[in-house]
Symmetry: C2
Subunit: 242 residues, 2 copies
């Protein structure tokens, strides 16, 4: 990442992305850890160029972390409290990193840029976790998928941003038929059910769930079957919008 204060960005406006994935019966969120001392985690974020739309900016930020451009992505809320300024966070970061912050990395101009109040547009994205190789940028120490029930201690209001993203995901899941963005190309009905159970954090009745999903008429049943264990082999399904 270049010095944002030298870029042609819209000022005091940022985008925070809640990137959802699904693996091992857990709903997960992609969260980078910053390189600075002090264990700082922060949602994938970025700014908006003067000549790109906010959707394009969000997609660019997303592509930088996932490598994928055609991902389900939607804005869900603006976070604009005065108390969410990054000043406190940055002062603590500077305090803990005395001497380590080279002038070229964190000059006055950049410090002035970051310490101003920011209003942030929240986006959430749904990806097939198997396709994605998380990519860290130059201020990340690492980037990993975290179970939404065991998120690291993120900065500022990022926990609330995730909570609001999850609320929106739950509200839109049936309405917009977006759950299948979290699954691989083909999947069994049980996998769909476990995904729903991870998202809503509650169990569903097996037979009724199957009926409900099939009644959506968006799944294609593949005649192929799954090889497995000491039981009947489940059908595989594929999502098809129609």
């Amino acid at each position: 990442m270049h010095n944002p204060s030298e870029q042609n960005y819209i000022q005091q406006l940022s985008i925070d992305c809640v990137i959802f994935g699904y693996q091992n019966k857990q709903l997960k969120v992609l969260v980078p850890k910053l390189i600075f001392k002090g264990d700082f985690w922060a949602l994938p974020s970025g700014f908006i160029y003067q000549n790109e739309s906010i959707d394009e900016a969000a997609r660019r930020i997303l592509e930088g972390r996932t490598g994928f451009k055609d991902i389900y992505l939607e804005q869900f809320r603006v976070f604009g409290e005065t108390g969410r300024s990054s000043r406190q966070f940055l002062e603590r970061l500077v305090e803990l990193n005395q001497g380590d912050l080279g002038a070229e990395r964190f000059n006055n101009q950049e410090f002035e840029w970051f310490t101003r109040r920011f209003i942030s547009i929240g986006y959430y994205a749904l990806v097939d976790i198997n396709k994605v190789t998380p990519q860290k940028n130059n201020i990340d120490e690492s980037i990993d998928w975290y179970d939404i029930k065991h998120l690291p201690d993120m900065i500022m209001d990022h926990h609330e941003i995730v909570a609001r993203a999850l609320d929106t995901l739950r509200l839109n899941l049936d309405e917009k038929l977006i759950a299948f963005n979290l699954l691989p190309e083909t999947f069994t009905m049980k996998e769909v059910q476990e995904l729903y159970e991870a998202i809503y954090d509650k169990p569903f009745a097996r037979n009724n769930f199957q009926k409900k999903i099939l009644d959506l008429n968006v799944l294609e049943r593949l005649e192929k079957k799954f090889t497995g264990a000491a039981n009947k082999a489940p059908y595989l399904y594929r999502f098809q919008r129609s």
Copy 2:
């Protein structure tokens, strides 16, 4: 309104308000007409001070037009396309108002402020139309309630903003029980039904509608009755959150 470029506002970020009212079986929107030549209508808008939250800014803008502070208000979407810049609109405005724009009203500094790209946060509000006396500010020629089916020719993407606000209103109406913000203190069941019919632009069955609304358990039936015409007098109701 003062010169915004001299105020301590967040730059390139604005708030547009869709203020809904209800009267004569019509869902209405409060829309000011600008004083400039050329018949420009624009939603009530404003900017965000550095030391106020976006909700506070929206409430301040709303109070300026309605005189009321405790109004139902909610953000619903960000409008951030690059094509929504006000440059085209302003160039046409300047062209049509040659000579009429005093230097004190529209100086270079202000023109520079306004012609930059703006990203706008959409808020919608619900008010009791009888309580409100619409107030124009110093760049309004007039301000009036318009039937949502017959809105004036608004600038930029304000028609889309209203359409999105209406979508959100419809989605949240039952969920959040907010319809009663559009009605006076007391009202009949028929008035509630006509309001719903105006919002959804479709008829409801009288008896089933009454059952549905009463089953919400948020209305208090007043023993008083309405004086009227050659028919049975309807009950009056009052909304009570509980």
